[in-house]
């Protein structure tokens, strides 16, 4: 009988701890599929963040390093400078990458570190139970913006891809999402390409993935996927923001 579907080799057998309807699981799978496709599992080193995906080190079969909050790009820099022939990726959420770790993110991108950054943007702090993120939308209600994000006092959400696209060094920046089959297919292509660029020594890649958080958005999984289309994509347009090849 032909095998039509199986778990990627780069994922362990550990059961994901993510909430029902959370799209971290899909994104993990896409990362693992990219590692499998490129045949780089044995030389890949992943850097896990602080946030909902803090336990990512349990889910990937490659060597893993747990970073402190926001510092994954700096840790990845150290790993990559020490082992330039290995493939190094970070997997980070919006609080980790766009708030506490913004300096490390921008600096690693500006240096053009030959690493791959998977940036999961769900517009909220998930692990601590649904507080305002640097990417929470104007008017978005969270535990720490109970009257809706007021841009007069909290400022506007940060568009990471657009911001990093002002830098010279990055090789590849793309924003994707995983809220329907077509978008998952695009995200798969983007993530694989980001890893391939590193294999080819092209430099810094970041894939921003708009991700659903039904638990903290207070929506059903289905409604959460629709919320990405209706609310997130208008503020965070999908697309390629930098492609040194393209």
């Amino acid at each position: 009988m032909a095998v039509v579907f199986e778990k990627p080799k780069a994922l362990t057998d550990a059961v994901f701890h993510y909430c029902p309807g959370c799209t971290h699981g899909i994104i993990h799978r896409l990362v693992a599929e990219a590692i499998d496709t490129l045949g780089i599992e044995g030389r890949t080193i992943g850097i896990a963040p602080v946030g909902c995906s803090v336990l990512a080190y349990d889910y990937f079969t490659c060597d893993m390093v747990e970073a402190s909050h926001g510092r994954a790009p700096a840790v990845a820099t150290g790993v990559k400078r020490s082992l330039p022939d290995n493939i190094v990726f970070t997997y980070q959420g919006d609080g980790d990458l766009a708030s506490i770790g913004l300096c490390e993110t921008v600096s690693a991108a500006a240096r053009g570190e030959n690493i791959t950054v998977i940036f999961v943007n769900n517009a909220i702090y998930g692990m601590t139970g649904g507080q305002m993120a640097p990417t929470s939308l104007p008017g978005q209600i969270t535990q720490t913006s109970p009257y809706g994000r007021d841009v007069n006092t909290c400022g506007w959400p940060i568009r990471i891809c657009e911001m990093l696209a002002t830098l010279e060094a990055p090789a590849y920046l793309e924003r994707v999402t995983v809220n329907n089959v077509k978008n998952v297919k695009n995200a798969k292509k983007a993530i694989e390409k980001a890893f391939r660029y590193q294999v080819e020594g092209k430099g810094f890649s970041l894939i921003e993935v708009l991700s659903a958080c039904p638990t903290n958005w207070g929506l059903t999984p289905q409604k959460a996927l629709e919320w990405i289309d209706e609310k997130m994509i208008p503020y965070y347009p999908l697309g390629v923001y930098r492609d040194k090849e393209g």
């Binding site: 044995g42 030389r43 803090v54 079969t61 490659c62 840790v75 150290g78 400078r81 082992l83």
Partner: protein, 355 residues
């Protein structure tokens, strides 16, 4: 054996790190340690090493964490305000049991403080620089020769016990020039590190470098095991120098530049017939309690000579269990006591102190 060369303390640290096999330096300028970064910037690219000027001290210590996770020797350096920033990462190094060397060429504080020499990060270094229960090895050089020797020692001890080591120098040590005999070059990569992340090559289970333990029982066990290791270190690795202690009735306790000043004062006091000696701690953690405890049965008083408000004095008082009084001779803010000031403190102690 290498020839003696005239070197600045900061440069001796940098060269000694390279000779000890360190090929990854992540750091940035801050007075009075900038020469370390400058030396590394010049040298590392020529020998296939990494010099990377960080975007912040926090980034640097996390780059060190990344290099250390791969099993390679990594070093960062800074001065007091920058070290405060590194404390986050030092705690993670300790929690993940990673070896690394952090150099602190201290300047006066608190806050932005000044840029002149100080020993006011004694507490910060010896009490565990960061959150959580942990220690780092703390080595305090008192000559340019020791800047070189203790740098190599710091790497070796850090690796042996899988923990961070801090070279705690004062600004004077960083800036002064002295003849130094550099050690022979070494290749530390011969040591097997079965915990490092190097890629599984699809031939082994993945290695995970981590300090997160959500099970309180497991985290408790790991803390206790770490402190069992610390107890071994306290037993085996204490370093100190005794100077003119055979018949001493007053014992100076001092490290770094103040130990150098005290030496001159002791020689002068001896000429005046005062029986004074010195115990100079070289490791500040582990603190050499045993020789101090022993000295407490011999001397009338101790005098701590420090560039802070008496931080090491607390460790001396604990070590001698308050058996004998411990006086304090200090200058702060970048000031350094003269031999005469120390001599006065010795005289006072010899005459019974302020009691």
């Amino acid at each position: 054996m290498q020839e003696k060369v005239l070197m600045k303390g900061n440069e001796a640290i940098a060269e000694a790190a390279i000779l000890a096999g360190c090929r990854h330096y992540l750091g940035s300028p801050i007075t009075p340690q900038t020469e370390i970064a400058a030396y590394m910037a010049k040298k590392m690219p020529k020998i296939g090493g990494t010099f990377l000027q960080d975007e912040s001290e926090i980034a640097a210590i996390n780059m060190v964490y990344g290099v250390a996770a791969t099993g390679k020797r990594a070093m960062t350096s800074s001065s007091s305000p920058g070290i405060a920033l590194k404390c986050e990462g030092i705690s993670y190094l300790a929690g993940a049991d990673l070896p690394a060397v952090i150099v602190n060429v201290q300047r006066g504080g608190p806050g932005l403080g000044g840029i002149q020499p100080s020993q006011s990060d004694y507490f910060l270094a010896t009490r565990g620089p960061g959150h959580g229960d942990f220690h780092v090895l703390v080595l305090a050089p008192a000559s340019v020769q020791e800047m070189a020797d203790l740098t190599g020692k710091a790497f070796d001890l850090a690796e042996k016990y899988r923990m961070p080591a801090m070279l705690l120098a004062d600004g004077t040590m960083g800036q002064m020039m002295e003849p130094v005999q550099l050690p022979e070059p070494r290749d530390p990569d011969t040591i097997e590190k079965d915990w490092a992340v190097t890629g599984t090559k699809c031939q082994r289970k993945h290695h995970v470098v981590n300090s997160l333990y959500l099970s309180p029982a497991e985290l408790e066990r790991l803390n206790i095991e770490r402190f069992e290791r610390y107890a071994e270190i306290e037993k085996n690795e204490c370093m100190w120098e005794a100077f003119m202690m055979e018949d001493a009735e007053v014992c100076i306790v001092s490290c770094g530049i103040t130990a150098r000043v005290s030496r001159n004062a002791i020689v002068e006091a001896r000429k005046q017939g005062i029986k004074v000696g010195m115990i100079r701690p070289i490791t500040l953690w582990p603190f050499p309690k045993a020789p101090l405890r022993k000295a407490a049965d011999q001397v009338k008083r101790f005098v701590c000579v420090e560039l802070n408000m008496g931080q090491m004095r607390e460790d001396v008082q604990l070590a001698v269990a308050c058996k004998k009084p411990v006086d304090l001779c200090f200058r702060v803010g970048g000031m350094i006591p003269s031999p005469d000031e120390v001599l006065d403190a010795i005289r006072k102690a010899n005459e019974g102190g302020n009691d």
